[in-house]
């Protein structure tokens, strides 16, 4: 079987299953974690299709920013987790899987590498003359984004401006009664003035 098709099916099956888990799970933290898994799988699918820049952007933006934001929100909601005892037998399959993967890595490295001479067994030839004229993904995007699609780029900039203004308008409180650190007062404080003696009951 072609490795591309195999990976395609793998990623899509995992994406489907984990997106079902996002909806189905009762624990909010777990469903966010599965959401991250969906993003990673979709990024893998994009990587298979070719646009590697987009796939890494997907991981950086969605996993790095949005999913982490979700996690913070979920944790602030103060949902009680039901702790489940992980039995030792349930760890076996994962352990075996990790072992097999590591072992196969080890053998494949033996297969490709001559450990005595410390070099690869087969040489790969890259025609740099061809590669030189290749455009990288980012270059292609830049060439289209700043010429043909420049209007969309500008509108996106405007949307971000609106988002910034909106956040500032809706959240900034300019209140007077906020307790702030006043450095002048702190510096003017001296040892004799700090302790006050208050006589509560005056003896007559």
């Amino acid at each position: 079987m072609n490795i591309d098709i195999f990976l395609f099916y793998l990623f899509s099956i995992f994406a489907l299953i984990s997106s079902l888990m996002v909806i189905g799970l009762t624990n909010a933290v777990h469903s966010v974690l599965f959401l991250i898994l969906v993003f990673c799988n979709v990024a893998g699918l994009l990587l298979l299709l070719g646009p590697e820049f987009f796939s890494f952007m997907l991981i950086i933006v969605y996993v790095g920013a949005i999913a982490v934001l979700f996690l913070f929100v979920v944790m602030m909601l103060n949902i009680k987790l039901k702790s489940t005892n992980i039995s030792f037998s349930s760890l076996w399959p994962i352990g075996i899987l990790t072992f097999v993967i590591l072992l196969s890595q080890f053998f494949s490295s033996f297969y490709e590498l001559d450990l005595v001479k410390f070099q690869g067994k087969e040489l790969f030839f890259i025609s740099w003359a061809n590669e030189n004229s290749n455009l990288t993904n980012i270059k292609v995007i830049g060439k289209v984004l700043y010429t043909h699609f420049n209007l969309l780029f500008l509108i996106c900039g405007l949307i971000l401006l609106v988002a910034m203004i909106g956040v500032i308008v809706l959240t900034m409180h300019q209140r007077v009664d906020v307790k702030k650190q006043q450095i002048a007062l702190q510096l003017a404080r001296t040892a004799p003035n700090v302790i006050k003696f208050i006589i509560l009951r005056r003896k007559r």
């Binding site: 420049n150 209007l151 401006l161 609106v162 203004i165 909106g166 500032i168 809706l170």
Partner: protein, 497 residues
Amino acid sequence: MNNFLYDIYPILPEIFILSNVCILLVYGVLFSSSIKLGYPLLAQNLGLLSCQILGCSFIITYYQTFLNLSSWSDFFINDIFTFKTKCLIFLMCLGWILITFSYINYERINSFEYWILILLAIVAILFIIQSYDLLTMYLSIEFQSLIFYILASFKRTSEFSTEAGLKYFVLGAFSSGLLLFGSSLIYGLTGLTNFLDLAKFFTGMPMLELSSWIGLTTGFTLILVSLLFKLSAAPFHMWAPDVYEGSPTSITLFFSIMPKLAILSLLLKLLILSFHDFITFWRIIILICIIFSIMIGTLSAFSQIKWKRFIAYSSISHVGFFLLAILSGNLEGISSSIFYVIIYVITMLGIFSFILTLRFYNYSYHYQTRYLQDLISLSRFNPALAISLTLFLFSMAGIPPLGGFFAKLFVLLSVLQTKSFGISIFVVLMSCISCFYYIKLIKSMYFSSINEWKVLYPINKLNSLLLGFSLLFISFIFYDIELLSILSTLMSFSFLN
């Protein structure tokens, strides 16, 4: 370079507004936070400045040489429709500022970002009107609705306002998702995003293949649903009454007049231009929407006790009329739809300037009317306001010599031309029912007695100017109806392909 100039020239007013927004933003931030000046409030100052900016951009648009071209590598269209609509939008916004300027003072909406957001919203609406591609359509709708979410929750100390903002945001984000999903389906099946390209692609296509037919109709339906949501047509109207009620009254007026024309122009472009070959398919969806919106808009308005909810439901039934005009899919229908929108906007401006002026004085403070029962025996203590509201309500009900009658008449005539008798009889019956509750309001103004007399806060000049203007316009439009009908026919020509 030549191309670049052709790109720049049609959107000159937008560029003017945007550069001014940048200047005003810097100005506002620097001055409102300066200790030396004692943290001045810039809201009024910026309001006047933005009024001036809108006036200048109206002049720029009006004196532009009209060019019929598609610019920015076919992402924008510039035809007679967009040209005229831009002028209309600027005039509408100027009227809006005149009405709501005093409201901002009374309600102490002091942050200067309000006006900057309004200017940006105008730019977004102009972008929507000109957009000629699925990508620009999505981005500019997103631009507009992001501003609207912020404006809806602008009075952040009020619970209603935050509720409105949140509700609008959640539902609006959902509908944007539908829009994006629909456009991605269409792009995936055709590889095209431009409206004109889609129109060329679909000519004579529909019965071609079952698989692509199903995909295309699904995508098209999703786009249509999200646009109808933004227009608050009936099965997708759930957000409208709550958002209208919760947001500050000036913003309610903005929501009820500004986006209607823009979203309607997008609907016209999609339905008449790109997907005209699917007419047998979309007529059913639009028909269902019309029946629901006119029915729900009319019947739900009965049980309302608050002004804003009442207006929200009546605007839903008006949206039904816009859609009814599109139903025929011909030139007559488009022009009558545009005519209806213009009359609707002017009526809305009048009614809201009435609501905003009806402030009751209760010693040491005055408050704005919120309930419909405040109208009781208004004719005793302010006959001028009472007669003006009577005329607006008659116009909305469609009593003959007023503007609303002609709007409804043209829509019904264009529908009758395609021999859709059933829907027109239904619409006439429903507007009879709506007549009943408009007249009920008038009755409570004139024929019911009140025990305690209320004191009205004096009307300020700007509001009264606009109230008078829209009143005169609505009542004397019959004298020269071609003032608008020629304009709307001219505007509808650009959909002739």
